[in-house]
């Protein structure tokens, strides 16, 4: 009785009867496992034949059957080429994990497909490094751009501030110019129409020249504008020898309008200064005499100076 392997070998070598063939074929057309088993046995025969491991009789039968048909011969030739190829390469270590299988496949792919794989790998690495470098460059440029933007914004702000300052200065200048013009106009107006300005007081400055001092050819004139409320007469005495003084102001051929004893002057580097303040109403237009007397140690008053001045009322 034939074993199943004998039947299969017989089928492959074309040695079975038609009925036996149909039985085998019927099995493998309806049962995929039967077909797989048949093809595995065939490949095993091919591989053993290629490596010279088929026994004498089986080898002859197999060789006769497969070499006589173009398609089967091609299968045999393929088996021989595959065996030659695989047996040429070093046996790889038995993989223990799926990870090591992948490692092996990586290195064996390098062996088997060296140029193309190496080129692809080099290209991938190049692209990877290139993209990393570009990423770094891009980041650096982005930082630089941000810094320049910030600097530009700061500069623009500073420029705006300076513009504002300039505008403010110009405005102030204009205001000052206006004030100046206004002041100038006012000053001019005051010079041309003094009536329009009413001072609160007027001052007459006198310098003591002694009792027998030469009288000026023209006595000083005090102009009292209408509406002036006070008249100040300021007498300066260079050498003051007395402790206290007496000041008398009298209209020429008229009444005394001022008389004060124990008048103490203001003393400074320029000498002694006597300031007499009187209502302007006391000064009618006319001439006046200011007599300064100093009190001696005995208590008697001696004339120190006499000053003549004129008053005009406007």
């Amino acid at each position: 009785m034939k074993s199943s392997d004998d039947i299969v070998i017989g089928y492959l070598c074309g040695e079975l009867s038609e009925a036996e063939r149909e039985e085998v074929e019927g099995q493998y057309f309806t049962d995929p496992q039967a077909f797989d088993r048949l093809t595995r046995i065939e490949n095993d025969l091919i591989d053993r034949y290629s490596r010279g491991r088929l026994s004498g009789e089986t080898r002859e039968r197999f060789e006769r059957a497969y070499l006589s048909n173009k398609n089967l011969r091609a299968r045999l030739k393929f088996g021989e080429a595959l065996a030659e190829k695989l047996d040429r390469s070093e046996p790889s270590p038995v993989p223990t994990t799926r990870g090591s299988l992948w490692q092996q496949s990586f290195f064996s792919s390098l062996k088997l497909g060296k140029p193309a794989f190496a080129f692809s790998l080099a290209l991938v690495l190049l692209l990877l490094f290139g993209s990393v470098w570009l990423s770094i460059q891009s980041n650096r440029l982005r930082v630089e751009l941000a810094r320049l933007d910030a600097a530009r914004a700061e500069q623009e702000q500073h420029e705006a501030e300076l513009q504002q300052q300039l505008a403010d200065e110009r405005k102030r200048n204009q205001e000052l110019a206006s004030d100046l013009q206004r002041a100038s106009d006012q000053a001019t107006q005051t010079k041309t129409s003094p009536e329009s300005v009413t001072p609160a007081f007027v001052t007459l400055l006198l310098t003591a020249t002694g009792v027998r001092g030469a009288e000026p050819t023209k006595p000083p004139t005090l102009v009292v504008p209408k509406g002036t409320e006070e008249v100040h007469v300021q007498l300066t005495l260079k050498d003051h020898d007395y402790r206290n003084y007496q000041v008398v102001v009298q209209a020429i051929a008229g009444p005394q309008i001022f008389n004060r004893r124990n008048f103490k002057p203001r003393i400074d580097k320029s000498g002694a200064t006597f300031i007499i303040s009187l209502p302007s109403s006391k000064f009618a237009a006319g001439d006046y005499m200011l007599t300064l007397s100093g009190a001696s140690q005995s208590g008697e008053f001696e004339d120190v100076s006499k000053s003549l001045f004129r008053v005009e009322r406007r």
Binding site: L12, F35, F78, G113
Partner: protein
């Protein structure tokens, strides 16, 4: 002899294999493999063309409304008929190598060496075209038995989380793809 499946008839054929289209597509590919091998083992001259013819006939029957319960069995019967027609066809030119000059063909000198080199080059190229995991599986699974192949296969099955039969089937399918690639490459180069 060989015709082309229309889209409609192809869809009917897929539907007869499985209600789920993705599973049906896998079953269609498996059926196609089975038919090609059948014609090869039966020594029919043009296995792929005969396969297409067989599938066309099955699909046509389905589109005509025929109910086929055992699609595999029916395909077998149709394939037998196609094979008989092919082998007995007056247009079928017998390969001169099949008329007894097998030994001569096997020992042809220069041509064989050149063909061998071409085949090895094609094998390199086709191995390269496989995904890495597939390439590794082929290498590990089919390396010589004297180098601990049995242990290697056991370890491979454990690594991939497959039983030995599932591993063998996966290796087989990859080998088939590799073989198709190499055959096509060799035929192209020899045709130049």
């Amino acid at each position: 002899m060989a015709g082309t499946l229309t889209a409609e008839t192809f869809e009917k054929l897929l539907a007869s294999l499985d209600a789920d289209r993705d599973r049906a597509a896998v079953k269609y590919e498996d059926l196609r493999r089975t038919l090609i091998r059948f014609f090869e083992w039966r020594r029919a001259p043009f296995p792929e063309d005969h396969t297409d013819e067989a599938l066309n006939r099955v699909a046509r029957k389905l589109s005509e409304g025929m109910e086929i319960k055992n699609i595999g069995g029916y395909c077998h019967q149709v394939a037998r008929l196609v094979c008989l027609e092919a082998l007995s066809s007056v247009d079928n030119k017998r390969d001169p190598l099949e008329s007894g000059n097998e030994r001569a063909a096997a020992t042809t000198g220069v041509d064989e060496a050149v063909e061998r080199e071409i085949r090895l080059t094609c094998l390199d190229r086709c191995l390269e075209s496989l995904p890495t995991e597939g390439r590794t599986l082929i290498v590990e699974y089919y390396q010589d038995e004297s180098r601990g192949r049995i242990d290697r296969r056991k370890a491979l099955a454990t690594t991939l989380g497959l039983n030995r039969e599932a591993l063998a089937n996966r290796a087989q399918r990859l080998r088939d793809k590799l073989e198709q690639c190499v055959t096509s490459c060799v035929n192209q180069k020899l045709a130049i």
